[in-house]
Symmetry: C2
Subunit: 495 residues, 2 copies
């Protein structure tokens, strides 16, 4: 993509002097067709799945890479905060325009630019919907595995910015594992491409991995080259119920050691099972302590053998096993998992949605710790998640109109993060830091790593215009900014 | 690891004022037991597999993380260049003390600190020999897949610094894919840990991936937490000979689309085959244009089926297929590949050892381009490598005593890199940049990415004491430093 005009800061990473004039001077540099300043557009871009609202001054909608570059370069000169946004489905406030400024809406860049079936790569713009891309490549016998719960609405650009996961990550990895190259612009509008369309690349530092999961704070992407894999021919899904939490968590190692690598290994606790049964009457054994949804995929010819192996592992350990070989029957088993979020509404009208990640062997102890926190604060805490990865979605259901319960939720969240820290875990496995977990990030890292991150942010974005106030706290931040991300209970749809 | 004394720069990333006094003041801060200044030690640490020699002023051998920290912090104060070194087996001059200063020999940190069989992780010091670690974990039913050719002597620390690969990377990935966490020190001696013992981590920027492959220029590692996987039960090896190069390269896609993921997919060209047959008389069809060594692994119960599937793919395409199911028979087939490097000696007493990486579909065109370069410059260019990854080891064999031939080799190397560039490839897939490819890195990247890398280097190492003169060229570098890495034909053992 050749820049069509020499915008300010082109190719230059150095800080520029402020141009003055602020927003109006910024808008004057842009094609009016891509700028919306009305309150309706502002309201539509003021929130994400955290249900925190911050109204932007405007929404800017570039239609191609050149327009992104011009927007970023002009924002750098006029010191206008930019909040890159895909579908706004995030659970950490990553796309919320928390410091005023302008939403950089990337949904207009929604083209699949090039599918190379032989090389098994696809070049896309950031606004392509993840689920659409999956269907598009699957029709051609290819497969893009990362599958966050929001895949029907979320975008690839947002998935890369947040390094999205999903149920298929144990076998197939997260978004990071499928990004070959990222083209985009730094916080001065300087264009770069990190990575190439190759599987092995030792040419310099790996900027690509630094950018994946950087939450829109280092650069804005204009195109993304993804690796694909052949679509598995078929799959079998098992629903295994356990009387004992430890037996369920130990099953992960049992399956792996038997040479099996499940394509999904999803976990639901006793509270989740009870809620789903109450809500949907699926005939679940509500006195079970845990459910594992175990999916194995592969060639059709190996399925009978794989089924036998999984059953051998489960026999005598699970109290009940159901399985499904057809798509319809599998869909019906997955319904247990899909009902979890609506079912939880019985426990409260709001949800604090955390997703800690811990070493797999500590999952039972962490689950006991979560139960203790729930008991101590008299809260409904319902847990499910990707047990093969040690990634637990911790859902605190509460009454948002009850200020005392809200206060207890705040205390409980701090204890949930302390629990993750105590077992060597991370405060987020998928959702990211954004606004919601910003006050807790420093406590989850060593001080040198935290300071290195701040300095890296300044390298890519010397004026601090890219998604300011997210992820990191800077010494120069105003007290207002510091508390801008201070925890208050957040509500969301699903994990 | 708690620092035992408050060394200069502890926890501080900011540049310090120079302490003055240079080397003698630096040595005065260290335990004399870890400092060697004799010429024999200097000579033993003056080179790597590139056969470029640069004598260091001394060799410093820390025995634990605290001593590493003290060495780095003192070097930062006294502005002493440090050259971190494992076994010195690299092919890009990464560990060569090219700017004088001191070799930081990490071989004394060679302990396996903790193997967690349930979690399938192992915590090691950087000086642990890769092959030793592999045997150690395999005795316990676990597997560490990255297998560079030097695995019997190279170290995990060096593997992480260079992001080493090997024949098993198509299915299992490179070193990067097995590093969960890195503890170490920045160029001011500030301690950090990047990553945790978990599979999913969204807490901040991914410093871990930035450090992997950073060639000792950003930090020195004191311990490394690696992920392990269950050891595959068994494997089958096929040697398939082809009359046509394109048929061999297309076989990669054929196997993948059939739902097969070979654990190895190694390629040798006609020149390599002819050389091996002349050298070792293994009864190879020397008029074949290519050999693929195809290894599939997995559970014993699936092997008959896998063997049938591979044979189905090969029948009618390969002109001859040999296979081996026992370890002894497999060892004998791998001998074809192992003989490649000694056999090449017939073509010259020196070897320029490149390892370009290109999109898989361009391998045939790149192979034709390599033949054209060989013909144009009347050189013996012999190619083999990891075809599933598009990673071609380009070996130019020549007479090091023939100055005219040496000059032609220099020209040919420039053309090999231009060829990789033309097809969207990287100038290195495994070996790294170091000294050897430093003059060519900027041509393989866009200018903004290159400048971002320079700025990241300054964040981690503000005084430029960590492996100075490697990978990146800085505006302030003296002309001498710039040409320090200027290409001259390099010799090495094996790829």
């Amino acid at each position: 993509m050749t820049p069509t005009r020499a915008g300010p800061g082109a190719n230059d990473l150095s800080p520029s002097s402020p141009g003055g004039g602020g927003l109006s001077a910024f808008f004057a540099e842009l094609d009016p067709a891509i700028v919306a300043v009305d309150r309706v557009q502002a309201a539509l871009h003021a929130f994400d799945a955290t249900n925190e609202f911050h109204f932007p001054a405007a929404v800017v909608r570039p239609r191609n890479g050149d327009e992104i570059r011009m927007v970023v370069a002009a924002a750098a000169v006029h010191r206008v905060p930019l909040f890159p946004r895909g579908a706004g489905t995030g659970f950490s406030g990553g796309s919320v325009p928390s410091a005023g400024g302008v939403v950089l809406d990337l949904l207009a860049l929604n083209r699949i630019l090039d599918l190379d079936e032989q090389e098994m790569t696809v070049l896309v713009e950031p606004g392509v919907i993840t689920g659409y891309l999956q269907q598009y490549v699957e029709r051609r016998g290819l497969y893009y595995p990362p599958d966050p719960a929001s895949l029907k609405t979320c975008t690839i650009g947002g998935n890369v910015a947040e390094n999205a996961g999903g149920p298929h990550c144990l076998k197939y990895g997260v978004t990071r594992d499928y990004v070959l190259a990222l083209s985009g612009f730094t916080g001065t509008g300087a264009p770069f491409t990190a990575g190439k369309g190759i599987l092995k690349n030792r040419a310099g530092y790996d900027l690509r991995h630094l950018l994946i999961g950087s939450e829109g704070t280092l650069a804005v992407f204009s195109s993304i080259l993804l690796r694909l894999i052949p679509k598995p021919e078929t799959r079998i899904l098992f629903a295994a119920f356990f009387n004992d939490l430890d037996a369920a968590t130990e099953m992960v190692g049992t399956l792996l050691r038997r040479g099996l690598m499940p394509s999904s290994l999803e976990f639901m606790d006793d509270r989740t099972l009870a809620a789903v049964e109450q809500h949907a009457r699926l005939g679940l054994p509500i006195d079970a302590q845990a459910l594992l949804l175990i999916e194995v995929d592969g060639r059709a010819d190996e399925m009978p053998r794989l089924r036998g192996l999984v059953e051998d592992c489960l026999v005598g350990v699970a109290r009940e096993v159901r399985y499904a070989t057809t798509a319809a029957a599998q869909d019906s088993l997955w319904e247990i998992r899909r009902r979890a979020s609506p079912a939880m509404r019985a426990y409260g009208n709001r949800k604090a949605n955390e997703d800690i990640s811990v070493p797999r062997r500590h999952v039972p102890a962490v689950m006991r710790g979560l139960k203790a926190i729930a008991h101590k604060h008299a809260l409904n805490i319902i847990n499910f998640g990707h047990i093969g990865d040690g990634n637990i979605h911790v859902n605190i259901m509460f009454n948002g109109d009850d200020s005392k319960e809200c206060a207890r939720v705040k205390l409980a969240i701090v204890e949930v993060f302390a629990l993750a820290n105590r077992f060597g875990g991370a405060i987020s496995g998928e959702h990211g830091i954004g606004l919601a977990k910003k006050p807790y990030l420093a406590g989850n890292l060593d001080p040198v790593s935290y300071e290195l991150m701040r300095r890296i942010k300044r390298v890519f974005d010397p004026h601090g215009i890219l998604n300011p106030g997210k992820m990191l706290i800077f010494p120069e931040d105003s007290p207002d900014t510091l508390s801008g991300g201070a925890k208050h209970p957040r509500e969301g749809a699903d994990a």
